[in-house]
């Protein structure tokens, strides 16, 4: 959540403006499938690794079909990874029970569960980013509202997103001003910081007042109108049904191990 990731958000809007079979799916279908995906992935026992691998297909397909740049997804993942990695890396130290044997190498349960955490992290984060990437915040929120998200919260999400860039630009201008005048010093004293951020706050609040007046002038009556009149079509039904079936199958049977046995069996 550092300033370096700022331009990325705008770029995710560009992703969502594309057109592909994944983009055309109803936001509700994608949201439900993605949530089911995350719940199923996280329902595996903690040392599971191989059975999780087939689940990569979901974010991979979604990302590829909608032509989201994969490098940027990975960069976002890297930025977000410290907490999961930090907490997970204690597992190999704490759980040294032998849990798997590959050839002559014995792998401890801790390493398995650490690998599992990393894989789960990649899967869950990737799926969420792919969902937003091929849907966009406006259609996603509109879809969620139709799924029962309270209107106040839906409106809040859209407003926050809309003004993120405006206020962030104001913050960036301030930062540039500080950098230009600070004479090489990096951080401010608390006093200066308080008045700078205070000014930013007051300007933001003034902007909210102006926005509100402008909204009233344009006939605002409590909801943000979106042009998206997406309907839940048969395709969307098939998509949700197919995803849920696939997740169920992959949850019930370890497909990786099955393929491995098949290949090894054929070779022998």
């Amino acid at each position: 959540m550092e300033s370096a990731t700022w331009p990325d958000i705008g770029r995710m809007d560009d992703w969502a403006r594309g057109d592909s079979p994944a983009h055309r799916l109803d936001a509700r279908a994608k949201a439900v499938a993605t949530l089911a995906f995350i719940v199923v992935v996280m329902s595996f026992p903690r040392r599971e690794v191989s059975a999780l691998v087939p689940f990569l297909l979901y974010p991979v397909v979604l990302t590829s079909v909608s032509r989201i740049p994969i490098g940027e997804i990975f960069r976002k993942m890297l930025v977000a990874s410290p907490f999961a990695v930090f907490v997970g890396m204690f597992n190999p130290l704490l759980d040294r029970q032998p849990a798997a044997v590959v050839g002559t190498i014995v792998i401890s349960g801790g390493w398995l569960s650490f690998a599992s955490i990393l894989l789960r992290f990649v899967l869950t984060v990737w799926a969420a980013l792919a969902l937003v990437g091929c849907t966009g915040i406006y259609r996603l929120v509109a879809g969620l509202e139709r799924l029962g998200l309270p209107r106040v919260f839906a409106v809040q999400l859209l407003f926050l997103y809309r003004y993120l860039f405006v206020i962030a630009n104001e913050g960036a201008r301030m930062k540039r001003g500080v950098d230009a005048r600070a004479g090489g010093k990096k951080a401010l004293t608390l006093r200066v910081y308080g008045s700078l951020i205070g000014h930013l706050l007051l300007r933001s609040m003034d902007r909210a007042e102006r926005v509100h007046r402008a909204m009233l002038a344009r006939g605002y009556e409590g909801r943000v109108a979106t042009l998206d009149r997406s309907r839940f079509r048969a395709d969307d039904g098939f998509f949700v049904f197919g995803c849920l079936t696939a997740f169920g199958v992959a949850r019930a049977w370890n497909l990786s191990a099955a393929i491995g046995r098949l290949v090894l069996g054929a070779a022998a």
């Binding site: 910081y193 990786s256 393929i259």
Partner: protein, 347 residues
Amino acid sequence: MHMADALISPAVGGAFWAVSGGLIVYCARKIKQTLRENLVPMMGVLGAFIFAAQMLNFSIPGTGSSGHLGGGLILTILLGPHAAFIVMASVLTVQALFFADGGLLALGCNIFNLGFFPAFVAYPLIYRALAKDRRDGARASWAAVVAAVAGLELGAFFVVLQTQLSGISELPFGAFVLMMLPIHLAIGVVEGLATAAVVSFVAKARPEALPAAVYAPTPGRLRPVLIGFAVAALLFGGVASWFASTHPDGLEWSMFKVSGKEKLEAPSGGIHETLAGIQEKTAFLPNYGFKTAEGESAPEEAAAAWPAVSAGTSVSGVVGGILTLAAAGIVGLALRARAPRAVGGNG
């Protein structure tokens, strides 16, 4: 600190989704009742402000490091608990969706940890009680620091609790608490100082921007009770960690009783087998523990090791996993090659 999807079980994630979802519905209803007309754009813009404010840092005297505003407490001071909770929830949602910070399954936990405690515990029970109606000066600063620390410590404690209940990390409860609480003590002091600095600036520059009288003050008679409760909450984390460090067995034993799992390393198989049995029965941790993989795979040489271990299973898992990974990659590339044009298109 944001809870990550990768560390959380569906049961814990779902439970906190339900709690946070309920709170959002409750707050949304309360906001509709207040009828403050400009509240909608104000909430949106202040959420954006929280993001923007994190671009600027101030130096922490004597340490050489720097800090910035966190969000929950100042939002509550500006907007009141209900609106602030909704704004925090929206900020965390945007972080989860666009920054991959936290995650969708963990979103309920994060909204609870970082939204509920500042808005509904730290502000009404600590900040209001300590600061009274002051917005400026030493008293208000102290109130902000104490409230911010308490809010963050409670949030951090719940991160530990949620991680433990999920059972994916192996970190012992006591050690994790000892790690998280001191870090968040420091973060809380920084957050409190930043909040106090900004609030006191606004109080001087434009006092009418601070909604002093919008919320009914805490009834006088309740105040001592609430302060007592707040101090108890503040001490709770410290006592818990002290308890954890002096009586690790006791605490872990109680964790075991609560959640059906124990974090001590037990070398002998007997305890593990009993535990596995208990874990299967505790509905709160479904599938947790030692899965007997592939029912058929014969326990060839694995008698000494794990119930689920068999060389055959592991090898086929590795081989199959690599093949599946390769297949996923090929599918991705193939779909990419087939798709007609780049994102954004003719713009």
